[in-house]
Symmetry: C2
Subunit: 202 residues, 2 copies
């Protein structure tokens, strides 16, 4: 049978893993189409915005990882009940995404001198400030990112976790902040998510 | 009567204006609380994430401009009908937001030499590439940002427009891309939006 979804992304976690984790959780079936960097120029003109990730279903393609994650979250009952619930999820997702943007601005800095300056500056202020806020958020939400229960924000966070740690040069992120690690571990504890992750790392 | 919403932001357009335009459109009443930069340190600890903009209603505060704009868009019937509609709106909003992030990374660069390098590089590639994509999107969508009709994405774009132009050092953005200007002009043509904008600029 043809899978319901085809998901196109590079063969890395980065911006794609959150969507893959949600697709695994949803168990509707998806083709995990991993495009090596060297094949990207050929594929790029066929995407909506010349960007990946891209999800394809019902003959249409959609770009933008957070948009796709929110869509799947709504489909799978992971997006709260009211508009205010959805606002709280979005708010917390964007806080995490702000940290990602900051970490990326250091990680992808081309000038080596500026890059090290940024790491020095961010490691002393921006990174711990965001991490403390996210940690407090999780503690306030009973071990979840939002609403005190499982939402797509937990998947978004779990999917970004390794990428965030690498971009912040903080491989011990989960040890420093056990509450953050707990969110990640819970997502990977769902049998279909675990099966996906085990298959990828096998 | 107490206004339904209080909206807290600096006395500039930047990340706040999209929400103000939506609040003006919705006509539920809002207090446009503009906090001068020098008062921000006092106010900051009372916000959810130490960030603005913040919207306050029903005794709760919420941060993050796009989250708030999406919430109001859903309330005001500007968010499509299906989950796929919402996905398309979000996708297109994030394309615009990607351009904002790029423009901000040049505009807020502290090192003057790097800053000018970034402007040189982005003005030749990143900025025109994004603008062409947004232009094509608007033409494909019959003069709107998404779904071929009015959505909160138009308000998001209209609210960001001056800020985007300034950050890209492109004051003639609307002249270069008339389709983009058309989206902005339509939003400001709604009587309650026009009344708000006229009152602010008076």
């Amino acid at each position: 049978m043809m899978p319901k979804y085809v998901f196109h992304y590079f063969p890395i976690k980065a911006l794609g893993e959150s969507v893959r984790l949600l697709l695994a959780y949803g168990e509707e079936g998806f083709e995990d189409h991993r495009i090596p960097l060297e094949d990207w120029p050929k594929f790029k003109p066929n995407t909506p915005f010349g960007q990946m990730p891209v999800i394809e279903f019902d003959g249409k393609q959609y770009a933008q990882s957070i948009a796709i994650a929110r869509y799947l979250g709504n489909k799978y009952g992971l997006a709260g009940d009211t508009l205010e619930d959805k606002l709280e999820i979005d708010q917390n997702v964007y806080l995490i995404n702000d940290l990602r943007t900051k970490a990326a601005s250091a990680n992808y800095e081309k000038d080596e001198v500026i890059k090290e300056q940024k790491y020095k500056e961010f490691s002393e202020g921006v990174f711990p400030d965001y991490l403390e806020r996210i940690n407090a958020l999780i503690i306030k939400n009973n071990g979840y990112i939002a609403l005190g229960k499982l939402t797509w924000a937990d998947f978004m966070f779990a999917g970004l976790f390794d990428y965030l740690g690498a971009m912040m040069r903080m491989p011990d992120l989960g040890k420093r902040y056990p509450a953050l690690q707990q969110v990640v571990d819970r997502v990977y504890s769902f049998p279909s998510v675990k099966a996906y992750a085990d298959a990828v790392s096998a």
